[in-house]
Symmetry: C2
Subunit: 240 residues, 2 copies
């Protein structure tokens, strides 16, 4: 039952058998809660377990000298936050809790056992890593070649679909518990400029965003401005 959110996410990629489901349930040996602002995983560490998000938002980030920060990934419930640490061993970045989080814990021993005996499940977990990479590539495109408004629109499109995929969005509305400063570190923009872009998006009737609730007011135009194509999310059930 711990792994319910994770399984729902993996089921977007391919059908998961009952046997596989049970294996995942048993692999998630326990859970942990992490306070807002705390690190789930730290740069330089060599984790012996991987974490998936059950509730809350998390962010991978890197720090540079002069206090600059870049967020390289946002994670929502169901995401396997540091699955790659099983393969890559040493963390090259940290992961922090954007909100209070509960995470499921899967020991690397359990992942190894799955990789030894469960080729199909292993492939589906591989899809997870590959889709993370695809999202990274899209972010590179957006930071590199889109305007601040286009880029922001793109991120909203992406988050909406990802949250919808795990049942956390309805009626073009979802929770976005990020501050504008955190959004700036995600988009590679200053806080001030994020604020102006958001106001422009409101003025154009693209979105509303009050408190933690975002409503997409004009989905077709938001997609069009962002040049959004959902292919990179691989949200289609296929035999893998």
């Amino acid at each position: 039952m711990l792994a319910a959110a994770l399984i729902r996410k993996l089921e977007k990629f391919d059908r998961i058998s009952d046997a596989e489901r049970q294996l995942l349930e048993r692999a998630a040996v326990r859970q942990r809660t992490v306070a807002k602002g705390e690190d789930l995983v730290q740069e330089g560490s060599r984790p012996s377990e991987s974490l998936f998000l059950i509730t809350g938002f998390a962010a991978r980030y890197s720090l540079l000298r002069k206090g600059k920060r870049q967020i390289t990934a946002l994670h929502v419930p169901g995401d396997f936050v540091d699955l790659h640490s099983f393969l890559v061993k040493k963390m090259d970045h940290s992961v922090m809790a954007i909100t209070a989080c509960t995470v499921g814990i899967v020991p690397h021993d359990a992942l190894r056992a799955i990789s030894e005996t469960q080729p199909h499940l292993t492939r589906v977990l591989g899809v997870n890593i590959a889709v993370d990479a695809a999202i990274h590539r899209q972010w590179i495109v957006s930071i590199g070649r889109q305007s601040a408004l286009e880029h922001t629109a793109h991120l909203f499109c992406e988050l909406f679909l990802r949250l919808q995929a795990v049942g956390l969005a309805e009626d073009y509305s979802f929770k976005l518990p990020l501050t504008q400063a955190e959004l700036g570190d995600t988009l590679g923009l200053s806080t001030v400029h994020v604020n102006r872009v958001i106001q422009e998006m409101r003025a154009q009737g693209l979105i509303t965003w009050r408190g933690e609730t975002v409503v997409i007011e004009d989905w077709p135009r938001l997609q069009q401005i962002a040049e959004f194509d959902p292919t990179f999310l691989s949200l289609e059930v296929e035999p893998r």
Copy 2:
């Protein structure tokens, strides 16, 4: 013998047994040459085989309206260019030959067979995907929060180590067969500005770059300017 470059690359991550080596050799059923400027793989396609680079440079890229282009990855000999297409099925970007290339071809059937019976080799191939993702994250950090000069310096550090890992660099020197326009599309900069940054790097005695040959003249300072930490490349043999 076809897969020699690929195997050399994988051996940077972990020891590859003779049996695994032979499997890879047999999986690489044939090779192909691709002319400079041609696409190896096209966005929207559903490849039934994956390609690794034997010789030449290749780039993954996305196009935006108004003719803008962003390169999201550079590939050098030994790189498994679209291994992820085995898992993700539909390409969300294209891959082009920066120079004339020869590529080895591995049918997805062969990759599936490996995934069914070769857990260790499957994990090592997974490292390949995970390291690609780590490089993507580093690019996000560099585009998002570094100056043009810092970012360029970082890319040169990365390329030097990656080329050195496959025996294509010596004495702080390597071949970089990119035009300044292509480098701009890689860094998210205009051609004009790339030119000015390169000149600044030359003026500071960091590098020389004549024709296709780059020489790193001051490796410690180049790394320091770039805030370069090679951890993300995972170039250490470890049991995986």
